[in-house]
């Protein structure tokens, strides 16, 4: 590995997913049709992961991901690889795009490493840049599945947390530096009891974990759950800001936020590329409030970039990295 060092101020990162690059769409199609097995999938997907990493390196992102090229969907991918699930039927996500909402029919259990292979490959070609381990959170897994077994959300979520914990252990054996749990479903149900359930789940997943512990939450009324989540056992909250016009910022101040912050400055739902100046101004909005120092701010997009065209995603990342460089000089 090269001696790459993550900048001490305003490191740049990504939330995880990236547009599916060739040959990923075709490989996933073949996998769905059972023409190839899991082992072949991970082998054949490598050129796509390489392209993703090349884009990150070109843009200059400090902490990268494998681009989730093997993941048809953030829930389905894991559901297909653990015990207790069966393949679901198609339900719509948006427009004419669907996902096979999986069905829990039995107790969920870890079977075998689910995400390690792609992560290891990404790490082998990332020129020393750390690669985040990214797992879908237990709450989101359960919320976005049909449950025919548990009929009790808490029991289902906590069992799911044990599955994810087991996966995290695989990463820990391999020296992972950043572990991110994605819980987008939480922001849609901003209730204390749901937030507390996620906390219990995170305690299971992160117990004794020395790597950087991150939870990613996005799109919803984040300010409503903020008071309930501040004591989560994590080092970093990775949150969406840009799409909601930085509405959350005053609440961070109000609640005395003092953890690290994954600061979303790129709108992943807009095709408009944020200019370097615009991103600097958005960073300034945070710095002006004097909530946390620049060493605790990780500059990144609001969420995964998978819905964007590749050229737009690249351009957004490039500007984000440029803006972070300037921010390092300024603050």
């Amino acid at each position: 590995m090269s001696g790459f060092e993550v900048p001490k101020k305003f490191p740049t990162t990504v939330v995880g997913s990236y547009p599916k690059l060739d040959p990923a769409p075709e490989v996933l199609r073949r996998y769905r049709k059972r023409e190839i097995d899991d082992k072949e999938l991970h082998e054949l997907i490598k050129p796509a992961i390489k392209e993703v990493i090349n884009d990150y390196l070109w843009a200059g992102v400090d902490i990268v991901s494998d681009g989730e090229q093997s993941r048809e969907d953030m829930v389905v991918y894991f559901a297909e690889r653990m015990k207790g699930y069966t393949v679901g039927d198609w339900v719509r996500i948006f427009d004419n795009t669907y996902f096979r909402r999986p069905v829990i029919y039995d107790k969920v259990e870890w079977k075998t490493p689910m995400t390690i292979e792609d992560w290891e490959y990404a790490r082998s070609i990332s020129q020393g840049r750390p690669v985040k381990a990214i797992l879908t959170g237990p709450y989101t897994m359960v919320e976005w599945s049909f449950d025919l077994h548990y009929k009790d959300k808490r029991e289902a979520v906590l069992d799911m947390a044990k599955v994810m914990r087991r996966e995290v252990e695989e990463y820990l054996k391999r020296g992972v530096k950043y572990v991110q749990i994605d819980e987008p479903a939480l922001s849609t149900r901003p209730w204390r009891e749901d937030a507390e359930l996620v906390k219990e789940a995170l305690e299971i997943i992160f117990k004794g974990v020395s790597a950087k512990r991150i939870v990613h939450i996005c799109f919803g009324r984040l300010e409503r759950i903020l008071p309930y989540i501040l004591d989560y056992p994590v080092d970093q909250f990775d949150l969406e800001f840009k799409n909601s016009n930085f509405r959350l910022l005053p609440f961070l101040k109000e609640y005395g936020f003092d953890k690290e912050l994954g600061y979303g400055v790129i709108d992943v739902h807009s095709l408009q590329v944020e200019s370097v100046n615009e991103i600097i101004k958005d960073i300034e909005k945070l710095m002006k409030l004097d909530i946390i120092g620049p060493e605790k701010v990780y500059v990144d997009p609001d969420c995964g970039l998978k819905r964007l065209p590749r050229e737009i995603a690249r351009a957004k990342l490039k500007n984000m990295v440029e803006a972070a460089k300037i921010a390092r000089e300024r603050w």
């Binding site: 829930v75 679901g88 039927d89 198609w90 339900v91 719509r92 996500i93 948006f94 427009d95 004419n96 669907y98 996902f99 909402r101 069905v103 919320e143 976005w144 049909f146 025919l148 987008p184 479903a185 849609t188 149900r189 799109f219 919803g220 009324r221 409503r224 799409n243 709108d267 739902h269 807009s270 819905r307």
Partner: protein, 339 residues
Amino acid sequence: MAIKAWSSVLGGFHRPRFLRHALRDVEKGTLPLGLEEELLKVATAEVIGAQLASGMRYVTDGMLDWHDIFRPFVEAWRNVYPDGLLRYFDNNFFYRIPIFRGEPEPSKPILAPRVRAFKELIEPAEMKVVIPGPLTFTLLSKNESELPKEELAKSIAKALNMELKEAVEAGAKAVQVDEPILIDPYLSLDDINIIDDLFKVLFEGVDAFKILAFYFGVPKKDIYERILNLNVDALVLPLAENPKGFLNLVKEHGCGDKIPVLGIVNARNIYDDDYQHVKDLVKESLNTLKTEEVGFTTSSWLDLIPYRYSLRKTTILGKYSEILSKELGFDYINPLKII
């Protein structure tokens, strides 16, 4: 006198596989443009058939071509554009945020042509059209016009009013207005204060059975009290998803002069709803709500579960409504039994 009872699916259906593929192929350019219209008619006939066979009194066309509840209107109105995606309430489903850059100016009707196309197929049942409520439309959009929010909301209500009037003229007998934003616990009083005026504009000159629907949660008490004053004939109470919350509401506040339309079938899971549980809920509700008429429906649209389950839930709704009516002594209106 026996309580009059009827049933109606709340809104749209999931798309069947052949239609999903056709729409995808049109996007890819591998299916001749226009062929998907024919397939849409076939798919619509299928969901209409399912509703008729299940004894629904009011039948929708299934809205199978709507990408989200706002889109057909956004695409048919000038000065409005669909933008990025945003999650629709607590679902893993996203709508495109409508961007208003001025007052909406309808360029073509959305509902009336559908009513004309399908009303004969729907007979002897009656056609119900569904629109997004003006408050939900406004609050889930981005206002980039120079109009204040209240003015924009009113202009949306006006455009929707034109839709409703034309749909009724074309033969729609029931109109359903969906205001899911009413369940938002953070809905401000300023926002709710404009709803009375919006509904006046919305229903001006609309001569049809008017239903107000909200779903995905329970409105706060003060919001519910305001809802009871709105000028609608019937109110959907989606019991199946939040039985306790709704029972508390109706026990405390009743249903005013509105006909309760009880959402007895859960439209967001794939279980067969438990009949005894449904029966208990209906009995408990109607012990409180002294009414001469009751409707039965699903807890939300059937577009968030796979197609086969959306049909199955329709059957469950029909069967349960009929059995319930028999057991509880209601006079159940099943249009197909008339002939």
